[in-house]
């Protein structure tokens, strides 16, 4: 049996995915990027293989994606995460009846991608170089509020009052604004909801730039944050399609591409 | 008795009376009574156009010059022969044309037609043979101008004993007009040969006349005088005036005919024609050039100052082309 792997080396986490000859997802694995990401990436990949009892030789083609894709020399090919994300989302979205718009929030960036029925990118937009509206923004906020990243979702729904307005979109200024709000005695719940809405507004603006069509697929780590999902849905005015494992869509896409590239050759 | 009937009486008498026959007979293009009908101007004098075909009216007049010659009311004896452009001869009969005796004939082809009247009478033992000739031109610009050159040459008739042939001017074409100051030359032929020393007289419309004798080649030349002096605003560039040329020749031929016997024979040939104001009479180079030069200078100077002024007012930067 031949297998194909996709490795997404992102700014905060390394994601690996393996598919079989029929394109079925065999397994995925997520690990923090850390400082020596090359070593970590290899480890993640190899651990994934051992978990599923796949020999290294059986993996016929590896496609790397993410910021570290160029430096991962073990890969057979590399692909930008936008394309990989589109392919992965298109494939994963089939379970939901097909998707045409993808919103991805990563550690350092956020993207909106429009794809055609075949999963080809027809348009995309990315945030500017600042970290506003990205996973990093959530990170900073969570640290300021002294709560875990995973708890943000629960806080979002826990508030009694309306979400507060966070004016600053910049992660650095938002930090001081949050501290100010805390000092004024506002509840963490309302602040968290405010942060989610702030990100949601930015994200939706990005999505509108590429044009929203059909179902909207939402992936990336922050897609696990129920509060953020609710805020985006609220701003967007429609339901989001969220995969089971939103972090690995891109790696899955890379793996699918690895398979089709191998079969094409 | 009205004047008119008296005139007719006088006329009929005059034909009877031999002394009248001494007056020259000549053809005229000028309509005797302007109120009759209408004619159109064309290159070659007045014509009547009937269904696109040019017709010429010519009236016979008796008398020395245009100023005192009479139109004839009744018929006159003699033959009227028309030689058309192609040289074909046709006898015409005269009749009443717009109230006076004359002929009317069609001129279908472009070019010169020759009309001859030959009339003779005897009185006091002198046989007088009148030969009145006219050389009308038919030309319409619509026919174009390419065919003109071969048609220009004058024709001679072998049917008349004494003939005056108008010589063509230099560069003459169908549009050429005889103007004041131009020289008109006539060749006098007797029995087809140039006749030297014959007396030729030219009468102009206002009574001026001049007589010269033909030279060895049989040619007599006249310079046309200006005899048209209207106020300038009434000046007409196309003011047509008749002239008539007489030439006579007397021989000692004697004999007798139905009219009696004679001891001498006198031939009297006439040829009529038209002349016009010369361009020199109404055109001025001086004023023309003055005006032209004025316009040129004025425009030139105006543009120069306009450019200068703009340069100053807008501080327009212009470059000196002199290196």
């Amino acid at each position: 049996m031949n297998y194909f792997a996709g490795i997404d080396i992102g700014s905060t986490a390394i994601k690996a995915a393996v598919v079989d000859e029929d394109g079925r997802l065999i397994g995925t694995r997520i690990a923090p990027t850390g400082s020596s990401f090359h070593k970590n990436a290899m480890e993640t990949f190899e651990t994934l293989l051992t978990q599923h009892g796949i020999a290294r030789d059986a993996v016929k083609f590896i496609t790397a994606t993410g910021y570290g894709r160029k430096l991962f020399k073990e890969a057979d090919d590399s692909i930008s995460e936008i394309t990989a994300n589109a392919i992965g989302a298109c494939e994963a979205g089939k379970a939901f009846g097909g998707v045409r718009t993808i919103i991805n929030i990563g550690g350092q960036d956020s993207k909106a991608i429009q794809i055609d029925v075949n999963g080809n990118v027809s348009n995309f937009a990315m945030n500017d170089k600042c970290a506003a509206g990205t996973g990093r923004f959530l990170d900073v906020a969570a640290r300021n509020l002294e709560i875990d990243l995973e708890e943000l979702g629960d806080y979002h729904f826990g508030g009694s009052g309306a979400p507060l307005t966070i004016n600053s979109t910049c992660a650095v200024f938002a930090e001081s604004e949050i501290i100010g709000l805390l000092a004024k005695g506002h509840g963490k719940e309302e602040i968290v909801a405010g942060i989610h809405y702030s990100i949601a507004r930015r994200t939706v603006r990005l999505a509108k730039r590429v044009g929203i069509e059909d179902r909207v697929y939402f992936d990336g780590g922050p897609a696990l944050n129920k509060g953020l999902v609710a805020a985006i849905q609220d701003e967007l005015g429609r339901e989001l399609v969220i995969p089971e494992q939103p972090q690995t869509t891109t790696a899955f896409g890379a793996a699918i591409l690895a398979r089709s590239q191998y079969l094409a050759e | 008795m009205t004047n008119r009937t008296l005139l007719i009486l006088l006329f009929s008498m005059s034909i009877m009376r031999p002394s009248f026959a001494a007056d020259p007979l000549w053809w005229s293009e000028t309509m005797p009574h302007a109120e009759h009908g209408s004619s159109q101007h064309s290159h070659g004098g007045p014509v009547e156009i009937r269904r696109g075909v040019y017709h010429k009216n010519l009236w016979l007049r008796s008398g020395a010059g245009p100023i005192d010659a009479r139109y004839l009311d009744g018929a006159i004896s003699g033959r009227i022969v028309l030689i058309d452009v192609r040289g074909e001869t046709k006898e015409l009969s005269g009749g009443n044309v717009h109230g006076s005796f004359g002929v009317n004939f069609a001129m279908p082809d472009e070019g010169f037609y020759n009309l001859h009247l030959i009339n003779e009478s005897i009185s006091d033992g002198i046989r007088q043979i009148n030969i009145a000739k006219s050389e009308p031109l038919k030309h319409s610009c619509r026919e174009g101008h390419d065919h003109v050159r071969p048609l220009m040459a004058p024709k001679q008739s072998d049917q008349v004993p004494l003939e005056i042939v108008r010589q063509r001017m230099a560069e003459e074409n169908f549009h050429s007009l005889l103007g004041y100051g131009d020289t008109a030359s006539f060749l006098v032929l007797y029995q087809g040969a140039p006749l030297a020393g014959a007396e030729v007289t030219l009468h102009t419309a206002r009574g001026w006349r001049n007589s010269v004798r033909t030279d060895a080649q049989g040619i007599a030349s006249f310079m046309m005088i200006r005899d048209y002096y209207p106020p300038w605003h009434e000046f007409e560039r196309r003011h047509r005036q008749d002239y008539v040329v007489h030439a006579s020749h007397t021989t000692d031929d004697a004999g007798s005919t139905d009219g009696g016997s004679y001891t001498r024979t006198r031939y009297l040939a006439t040829l009529n024609g038209s002349y016009y104001p010369s361009t020199r009479d109404y055109r001025s180079y001086t004023y023309g050039l003055l005006l032209g030069v004025f316009a040129l200078t004025f425009t030139g100077v105006a543009v120069y100052f306009y450019r200068r002024r703009r340069q100053k007012r807008f501080h327009e930067v212009r470059f000196d082309e002199k290196n």
Binding site: I79, V121 | V317
Partner: protein, 426 residues
């Protein structure tokens, strides 16, 4: 990134920050790509000498700085002076220039100000006796007084904000004639028919060489990479006119040879990119380099550091000074597709025609953060390109290298989408 400053042989100058910036880029241009044309060596060496070793700019007579393509250089040459284009691409000077201009303003103008302010700037223009500053965009217009305050003589060459009307044309012609007066004062020489004719002949020869190069880039597969093309046109800013022309003619000859041999400078299916928007000026060739490193090839451009500067040629009807100068004025105004002008349609049409002529697969639109006119024209350009089915990537960036990673992702994704599109089209 790939840095290997050759410190052993380079002089001390090499240690300055901006020299290192230039060095890094030159290394990337030279070493990261195989099969650079032999004739490009002249340009690589030229940039190393001028940017890394601080060689003074070669010139005859007075050196006259220009801050935009609208300054008619033939006039400057005709007065026996040498023009040097001061538009700067260095991040180092951009940061210095930030002292003069708001941080959010155009990096090009900031860098220009920075380089004028810096001592021993690069390119080394020594003492500029006059700077001709066309009043193009707001930032260049306002830079005039700042340059003046640094002690330079500045001539504001007034440019109308629209170019369609006859009034604008006449206004500009007057403006150019006034520049001639100023140059006469400066040089003390007279403008003659012969001088101007010779100056025009020189630039016409240079433009002819450029046009030949431009046409050679129509070839598919590409004979020549865009990064080199930008380097060539950037050299025109400061290089000796005749020397530059000869080098380009040599390059053309080599490319023609390549054409006959069926050479490929990039992959056969490499997406052909039309570059438009804010000008890539050495050493800020970030975007064209990223495109070509990601496997695309820049086959044509519509920027004022290359095509817009050199493509359009002067026509003269009567070889009289007045007609020649007016003809020059027209050439610098009428065909210009700079977004500072009121209407956008000439630029739209130019892009569509370039896209058609060069068989372009996609357009990359660079807008310098702070260059509002390019930012504002983005939508209208995007619309006409979309109507023709030509994909476009809009990139807002500046001279800082911070966004390199993110940009490379976007560019790669863009090229990948073009490739899929082409695959599907087949």
């Amino acid at each position: 990134m790939n840095t290997n400053p050759n410190e052993a042989t380079a002089p001390a100058y090499n240690r300055s920050r901006q020299a290192r910036e230039a060095e890094t880029l030159l290394d990337r241009i030279q070493d990261d790509f195989p099969d650079n044309p032999e004739a490009m060596r002249y340009f690589y060496d030229l940039f190393r000498r001028v940017y890394c070793q601080g060689e003074p700019v070669k010139h005859e007579g007075t050196l006259v700085g220009t801050t935009c393509i609208h300054a008619p250089e033939e006039l400057i040459y005709a007065f026996g002076a040498t023009p040097v284009r001061l538009c700067n691409g260095s991040y180092h000077y951009d940061q210095i220039g930030a002292d003069f201009m708001p941080a959010k303003s155009c990096p090009l103008v900031k860098a220009t100000l920075g380089s004028l302010h810096a001592k021993a700037a690069v390119p080394n223009t020594q003492a500029l006796e006059l700077i001709v500053n066309p009043t193009t965009c707001d930032q260049k217009t306002k830079a005039s007084a700042m340059i003046g305050a640094m002690g330079y003589q500045v001539h504001d060459l007034e440019l109308p904000p629209a170019k369609e009307s006859e009034e604008a044309r006449l206004y500009w012609q007057r403006s150019v004639r006034r520049l001639a007066l100023r140059l006469r004062e400066l040089t003390g020489r007279k403008l003659t028919r012969k001088n101007l004719q010779q100056a025009m002949a020189r630039t016409a020869r240079a433009q002819t060489a450029f046009r030949t190069l431009h046409q050679l880039r129509k070839n598919a597969p590409a004979l020549f990479l865009g990064k080199d093309a930008f380097l060539v046109t950037n050299a025109y800013f400061f290089d000796d006119l005749d020397r530059w022309t000869a080098a380009v003619e040599q390059l053309n000859a080599e490319l023609q040879l390549r054409q006959m041999e069926g050479f490929q400078a990039a992959q056969k299916r490499a997406p052909r990119i039309l570059f438009t928007g804010s000008p890539p000026i050495f050493p800020n060739l970030k975007l064209p380099l990223l495109i070509e490193e990601a496997g695309g090839v820049v086959v044509a451009d519509e920027t004022c550091s290359a095509n817009r500067m050199l493509y359009d040629m002067t026509a003269v009807d009567e070889w009289l000074l007045n007609d020649m100068v007016d003809g020059l004025a027209d050439r610098y105004l009428k065909p210009c597709t700079c977004p500072i002008f009121t209407r956008n349609d000439d630029r739209q049409r130019r892009l569509l025609q370039l896209a058609a002529d060069f068989n372009v697969d996609g357009v990359v639109y660079q807008a310098f953060a702070g260059c509002q006119v390019y930012e504002m024209e983005y939508r209208s350009i995007a619309d006409v390109l979309a109507a023709q089915g030509i994909p476009m990537l809009y990139v807002e960036t500046d001279y800082s290298p911070d966004d390199m990673g993110q940009l490379s992702t976007r560019i790669e994704a863009f090229l990948e989408s073009i490739k899929t599109r082409k695959r599907n089209a087949r």
